[in-house]
Symmetry: C2
Subunit: 391 residues, 2 copies
């Protein structure tokens, strides 16, 4: 196991009705002038935004609003938010929404108190300071409610890039599973896929002797495999939603990823798809991840056999571990199909003729040196072949 | 799943040599005049204490010292520490040792800035404020390095009682697995048993639909079953020590215990043993927990069958789930024996004639109302029978 630091100081308020604590928690964590940041219809339509505003008012917290965050959140709105926060002397950013809203809020929080262009953080500069961010989560998927990460898409060139830094961990996150009951089966399945991807990115490692984090990841995957289809089949199932919501946080706050190198090539490969075609990140991952697995599994057949046996319930073929490894990948792909995810590029509206460009940007985009991935180091021609495996 | 809050703001520095960061971390978290609190021989003998002192000096942090913490830490030394901290205007307590040292440090940290008697916190008063506590952990077991809990034994009457409160979470904890390589196989096995007990106390719940935390607990147990015997057989195995150390923290910081009621009767029943006979807490748990399981398993046979199948690898007897449940308990007991733990009261030097008194104190000791346990509510005669099952 490698040396590591782990610091997850987010305060989580979890359960029915917890959004009523938003105002109290903003105050507890030092906010007095809030930017209330959200997406579009659903937070307004369901009355959630009004409940949050009421909670702020009841606690004497003033606020200004900025809605309109799109999936794959854009840099344009971030610049707008930064200007607004500076003008209004905002000291706290409260995100009401899913990963896109939270990521946009984090970018605004970092950018507001930075003299340069916030985009520098998305070109590799570490985020040392930001306004405090709180969240009221409405989609269990991205894990951004407990992570030090943010992903933003820059309109000129449709570049999708990530920033990271301890200052980006939310100071509090309110997780009410009932808020996710309005999600469609498709949105729910995208979320489940994203969570599984966060776990697999950590699982496939070259670090030896990491049994404790292996077992935690496997446990979370098993829970997702059990709860995911229940939430897809019955969107109103509170208990399934609750299990998914905590799993989504645990999958990405890195308590199960510490001390091991991680991969993240599939995320990089996917980001090019959702940036170019504006597809859902989870759907993109459903296409990319099985293809990545098929391309790289020979690097460590026994690790792929392990996940096949422990997570997918495959029998171990002791005479031919490779067949077990492949059976696990097939089981994953079958699971994705069963919850309604595409597993082919055509399902995203992606075009074969774009593959060269996609692979090039994935490997040479902002700050990258021609290769991606920590488990297997992939170059442009490898990435092209992975895209082709998903045709 | 029940509503819950989860807040674990401890900064963890994990790995070889990390104790060199002690001074830097004390400063980061606001300390300038430190009480350095430790036990007896080993931290001095191994040179660890000198390395920590050097790190404090290099960072311009002044300190005063108080050693002599015993296993089952005593109230007398806590009073001494409180007086010392007040006299020396200490603003930070740094524990160098295992759970006993950390628990003693937490008691001193809370008591120093409290006007009343610190023991009130161990009679049920919640700890709202305390001096910040940092830890350099030398035994993976108690989980106190990441928990909001502390257990102290009061000399008059040998009462062992716990306190709790967010203010008792360490602000940082340094976890260097190499420091645990000096532990004997017996001490190591006690630690493994304590970690497993922390997981089982959470696992046995009456809350329905808690698959995600079930799976996390099972994963941690599986890792302990794999790594524990490796560390007992080869105390110098750094990798096994590292896995155990992170598992010990995760087993008790409650990320796998949220949203579900928990039991904790076995800890209460054990505390009477280690208070009266001054045995190791882990050894006491090895005696109590299997007996508790045998006494209560009929409350939820399928939950006991689940852990038997998922954790102990038993085959499910679909015609007779009770036999599977019992096979799991037997497997646990066999595991404890295999790592050198006692599973009978005689192995602790406990006497049959004390059982009545032990059971009475467990149920009626400070603040208790004649019953203990969240999974099954136990009264004095139940506790007596559990002790008798361990004869």
């Amino acid at each position: 196991m490698n040396n590591f630091t782990f610091y997850s100081p987010t305060y989580f308020a979890f359960g029915k009705g917890e959004e009523q604590r938003a105002g109290q928690l903003v105050k507890r964590f030092g906010g007095s002038r809030v930017l209330l940041h959200y997406g579009g219809g659903s937070a307004v339509r369901t009355g959630l935004l009004d409940r949050v505003k009421r909670s702020l008012e009841e606690n004497g917290v003033s606020f200004t609003q900025l809605g309109g965050v799109q999936p794959n959140p854009r840099s344009g709105l971030v610049y707008e938010g930064i200007e607004l926060c500076r003008r209004e002397n905002v000291d706290f950013v409260l995100a009401v929404g899913g990963g896109s809203v939270i990521d946009s809020a984090k970018a605004i929080a970092a950018g507001t108190i930075y003299e340069g262009d916030f985009w520098e953080f998305y070109q590799g500069k570490s985020v040392e300071k930001a306004l405090p961010v709180g969240t009221v989560l409405t989609i269990a998927a991205a894990g951004s409610e407990g992570s030090p990460d943010s992903v933003i898409t820059r309109e000129d060139g449709m570049l999708k890039r990530g920033a990271s830094g301890e200052a980006l961990r939310p100071v509090f996150s309110i997780l009410n599973p009932a808020l996710t009951q309005t999600l469609s089966p498709y949105q729910t399945a995208c979320g489940i896929t994203d969570m599984m991807a966060h776990l697999f990115e950590r699982y496939f490692t070259t670090t030896k002797e990491v049994e404790v984090t292996d077992r935690m990841i496997e446990g979370l995957l098993l829970a997702l495999i059990h709860e995911g289809p229940r939430a897809v089949a019955d969107p109103d199932n509170y208990e399934a939603r609750a299990n998914l919501m905590w799993a989504g946080m645990m999958a990405h706050n890195n308590s199960c990823g510490v001390g091991r190198n991680q991969d993240w090539a599939s995320h990089d490969i996917e980001h090019e798809l959702s940036a170019l075609y504006d597809c859902a990140h989870g759907a993109g991952l459903a296409v990319v991840f099985p293809a990545w697995m098929k391309y790289v599994y020979k690097k460590d057949v026994m690790r792929f056999a392990q996940v096949a046996v422990r997570v997918w319930g495959c029998s171990m073929d002791f005479a031919n571990p490779e067949s077990t490894a492949l059976a696990g990948i097939a089981a994953f792909e079958h699971f994705l199909t069963s919850i309604g995810m595409p597993t082919r590029l055509s399902g995203l509206g992606a075009r074969e003729e774009d593959i060269g460009k996609l692979a090039h940007t994935a490997c040479y985009g902002n700050g990258r040196q021609g290769h991606i991935g920590g488990f297997v180091c992939l170059q442009q021609q490898d990435v092209e072949q992975i895209y082709r495996l998903a045709l």
